[in-house]
């Protein structure tokens, strides 16, 4: 029996209050009628209306989503390949360098990653814009994807794959029909992680973008530097709502999948 004392209850309530009150305040004040964000002047949705009419924000949002979809998709493919190489390919020359390059971007300060990529793009004369942001985001998020996927690859039973090969599958079919369905949850969460990392990124995007492409974080950052504004509160509320719905849906789906899998396993174990 674990003890659950008043101390634990206090720690949890204070902790979660600290984590959530700032965001709740942000959401509440996005419905404030006053232009002054710290003075409450009644309920209003006018800032949402102004946000929708603000072309610059809409364009930036569109660029951000485009970049995030492209970079997270490429990163998922490359990251899954990299995870496969790390877990399954065995020894090859340059393996240490390879795993170093997978783990280093995870701890690299964003300012350095951004600066170095910018210097590369200028060095090879690539015009900066959507393409360069996609390349930059793909590079750091593929490392996150490969970490997520390789932890799943390590834990799964390799004999399933061998059985498929014994039964006449080609190596590719064995991957497509056996391995992929098993690691699919990890691949999907890797994609989601890459997608959010890209949506969120300010520093690397600021370095690697040109005048033709402004992402939402860059736009928000330049607006926020001038101070708090109710429009940004409205925008933040929309983003918080999307993330909350997304995370809760994803966790319900994985929970359901886990329940289904447990039931299937029980059925399989039952003697006929």
């Amino acid at each position: 029996m674990r003890r659950f004392s008043w101390f634990n209850a206090t720690a949890l309530s204070l902790g979660f209050a600290f984590l959530y009150i700032p965001m709740i305040i942000l959401v509440v004040y996005s419905f404030n009628a006053s232009k002054l964000v710290t003075v409450w002047a009644g309920f209003s949705t006018q800032w949402y209306g102004e946000l929708i009419r603000n072309e610059e924000f809409l364009n930036a949002a569109w660029v951000t989503i485009k970049v995030a979809v492209m970079s997270s998709t490429i990163a998922t493919v490359l990251g899954t390949m990299a995870a496969y190489v790390l877990v399954r390919a065995g020894r090859f020359s340059g393996r240490t360098l390879f795993s170093g390059m997978i783990y280093a971007p995870l701890v690299m300060p964003e300012v350095i990653t951004g600066l170095s990529l910018l210097l590369l793009f200028i060095g090879i004369g690539l015009d900066r814009g959507v393409l360069t942001i996609v390349l930059a985001h793909t590079t750091f998020s593929m490392c996150y994807v490969s970490v997520v996927v390789s932890s799943r690859l390590v834990s799964f039973d390799q004999s399933l794959e061998e059985a498929a090969l014994d039964l006449g599958c080609s190596a590719f079919d064995a991957f497509r029909l056996v391995t992929l369905p098993i690691i699919a949850p990890a691949v999907i969460s890797g994609w989601l992680l890459a997608f959010t990392l890209s949506l969120d990124d300010l520093v690397i995007a600021s370095f690697t973008t040109g005048p033709s492409a402004t992402t939402l974080p860059i736009k928000i950052f330049s607006a926020v530097r001038l101070g708090v504004s109710p429009e940004i509160n409205a925008l933040s509320t929309i983003m918080i709502a999307i993330v909350t719905v997304g995370v809760i849906t994803a966790s319900l789906i994985t929970k359901q999948a886990a329940v289904r899998q447990a039931r299937d396993e029980r059925m399989a174990e039952r003697p006929a």
Binding site: T38, I102, P109, V111, I112, T139, S146, I220, M239, G246
Partner: protein, 296 residues
């Protein structure tokens, strides 16, 4: 052949977009500023062949690193980044440990929900979470309004644009990184060890110090590194919540690059920042490896 492609594609991608950019930073940190596009020299002239290569290397020097030591700004920024990272890691540990502890003690059916509540802010935009504090900590902000209303203070406190605001911002945004590893260490802990300690005459508090803390040591170490390492290079928090007095190396690098347009010095700042990070990164990797070996 298939194996070769499988290895080559991600390998080449990382070499082209991670390793080579890095070599370029190193090279430019050894170059000189020039009023040209790109604004540094020497340029590597492939057309000149071998003699071009020789004169290129002859012109590289450590002047930028020498410059970093002559100007107070840089070493002060490095020191203050280290100090801010160290203090905020300790603060995050103090705030995070009780939360992780209470989560691990909660009823098992509650734990997935609590875990999700900790992870949810992590998925929310970092920028927005930092921005949320700007409205709270401002002079006419909600915290001051609240404290004035309570009568605790008579004049508003200046918090925004000071180091205090930076500490609050860091603890707030990095808290999940501290809670999660400590929680997973505590959750695996065998409760009968605590009972044994108490049966053998330990008080609750000494059982906590002698059993719980040592058993969660790996989680504490992992959490501290996960906060300390990224905070050193942090840019968003000091630039939004900090003031002109807040010196952090990420901010200095950004300004050197975007405001002063001094690429060689910005690159030299980056190289030194990386050298500073190498030690904690290696220690962190070693801790992770030890943990994996202990589990496996």
């Amino acid at each position: 052949m298939r194996r070769f492609i499988l290895i080559a594609v991600p390998y080449l991608w990382l070499v082209a977009l991670f390793l080579i950019p890095f070599v370029i930073v190193l090279k430019i940190s050894l170059s000189d500023v020039a009023l040209a596009r790109p604004p540094y020299m020497p340029q590597l002239d492939f057309a000149a062949g071998w003699s071009g290569l020789v004169s290129f290397f002859a012109e590289l020097d450590f002047d930028n690193f020498w410059f970093l030591t002559t100007d107070d700004l840089y070493w002060k920024a490095y020191l203050s980044s280290l100090q801010i990272a160290l203090v905020s890691t300790v603060l995050t540990l103090i705030v995070g440990y009780p939360i992780a502890y209470a989560m691990a003690r909660a009823a098992p059916e509650w734990r997935p929900t609590l875990l999700m509540l900790v992870i949810l802010p992590f998925w929310t935009s970092f920028l927005i979470r930092v921005y949320a504090w700007m409205g709270i900590l401002a002079n006419e902000g909600l915290l001051n309004q609240f404290l004035l209303w309570l009568g605790v203070i008579n004049t508003p406190l200046t918090i925004l644009n000071t180091n205090t605001a930076v500490y609050i911002g860091i603890v707030y945004t990095y808290l999940p990184f501290m809670i999660l590893p400590i929680y997973s260490a505590l959750e695996r802990m065998d409760d009968s060890l605590l009972e044994a300690a108490e049966d053998l005459g330990c008080s609750r508090l000494s059982a906590f110090w002698l059993v719980t803390i040592p058993l969660s040591k790996n989680g504490i170490i992992a959490g501290c590194f996960l906060v300390f390492i990224p905070v050193i290079g942090e840019f968003v928090i000091p630039s939004l919540l900090g003031g002109s007095g807040t010196l952090m190396i990420g901010k200095v690098l950004w300004e050197e690059f975007f405001s002063n347009r001094d690429w060689p010095v910005a690159s030299a700042v980056a190289v030194i920042l990386l050298l500073i990070l190498v030690i904690p990164i290696i220690l962190f990797q070693r801790n992770e490896q030890k943990q994996r070996e202990a589990e496996g």
